[in-house]
Symmetry: C2
Subunit: 219 residues, 2 copies
Amino acid sequence: MQTLERSGGGMSERRRVRLRLEISREAARLFWEQGVAATSGDQIAEAVGLSTRTIWRHFRSKESCAEPIVLQAVVNLLTVLRSWPRQSSLEEHLAVELDRFRHEAPPVDLADEMLAMRMIRLADTEPALRTAWLMACDQAERAMRLIIADRLDRPADDLEVRMHAEAAAAVVRVLDEHIGATVLTGADLAELTGATAVARRYAHAIRTATGGVVGDPVA
Amino acid sequence: MQTLERSGGGMSERRRVRLRLEISREAARLFWEQGVAATSGDQIAEAVGLSTRTIWRHFRSKESCAEPIVLQAVVNLLTVLRSWPRQSSLEEHLAVELDRFRHEAPPVDLADEMLAMRMIRLADTEPALRTAWLMACDQAERAMRLIIADRLDRPADDLEVRMHAEAAAAVVRVLDEHIGATVLTGADLAELTGATAVARRYAHAIRTATGGVVGDPVA
DNA sequence: GCATAATGCGTCACTTAGTGACATGCTGTC
DNA sequence: GACAGCATGTCACTAAGTGACGCATTATGC
């Protein structure tokens, strides 16, 4: 079944990730349908066809079952940012990359993205889930730190770099929450049609949050 | 004992807050001394001299016991910001207010501040505590939103306002973490002596993170 | 000053999240 | 085809957290 995933020593790693995602999907679905408190570990286990014990082997807590699916929501932008060449501006790069998705590779499954948005939405009222969302953003911030450090030719643990990264991650979080909420209500999709429009919003937000330091091409 | 706290209808509210803080102190101490996992609800209850059941009546979870003490760490700056008059710049206001603390009112107990810094430090390695810290920052962000909304004469749920608030809260968080870590190591206290120096750092960070929108006096 | 209601707390029984220990079964290796 | 390794299942257990009830302290009405 997973003979393809055999490549060197890190064989089981991919399988692990895939399984976690699988569990996360079912958990997220149940959380959305009946609430977090009303969803038991046993239910999740049954939904995914595993024993309860195995669930706890893959996740340290019930709420953390939502993490992988939520993390996918930010991983998209992050991979795009990681490939940001030094000679192009943030606006250019985002516009090009986001547009590429339109024709080419669907970055993550649409159903997964919907699930993620629902979890982010739930995080508003369910403090347990808020943690998962904040953890995902925490991951995003870490990645952001590396990207910005590289851009500014500074060490990643530099205080300025950290502040820029946190600020950038924060505004991205707000935009994601906003977009998620908008999509879920169904109305007003017009404002986010067009890759360039979205790109411009993200770019402008990051540029502003970093005081204009992150955004321009660098030598 | 608490006859003084009688003032209007919201009597028990203050008592609740004080009790929560009391519990939080003991919990934080135990968390620091022996780790979160090794500290049981029973231990906290015994340390504060209450029954375990009562602990759960005041806190929804073990980790959340750390929240009040951590929240104190941000409440300081927040109250200062709330009193920011429209006609003064951020730098001025912070410098004046922080300097006032030096001679006048110790805003929160020093021991409490130390405890808070330890919790923030612990949050680095203990994911359970990270939640408490992020929740406190979340509160901070909410307050920040109101302050910025007022400054910019815009509604508090405006997207721009939210982004500025989150970004500002984020950099404050980084600074707090940094200062906390510095204080705990004991070394290098020189860099944070002087209220005006600290004021300048916070002011500059917030100003930058909001793209310069928040910081100047407004008409 | 005393009866009464309200509220906070303790006790006990209970549910459920999460772990440890051991058995089993599947997968790839020699 | 025996064997090592690893993921999973089963069972027993700890600890987090809740519900229900009873008791004491405190505020309120007279």
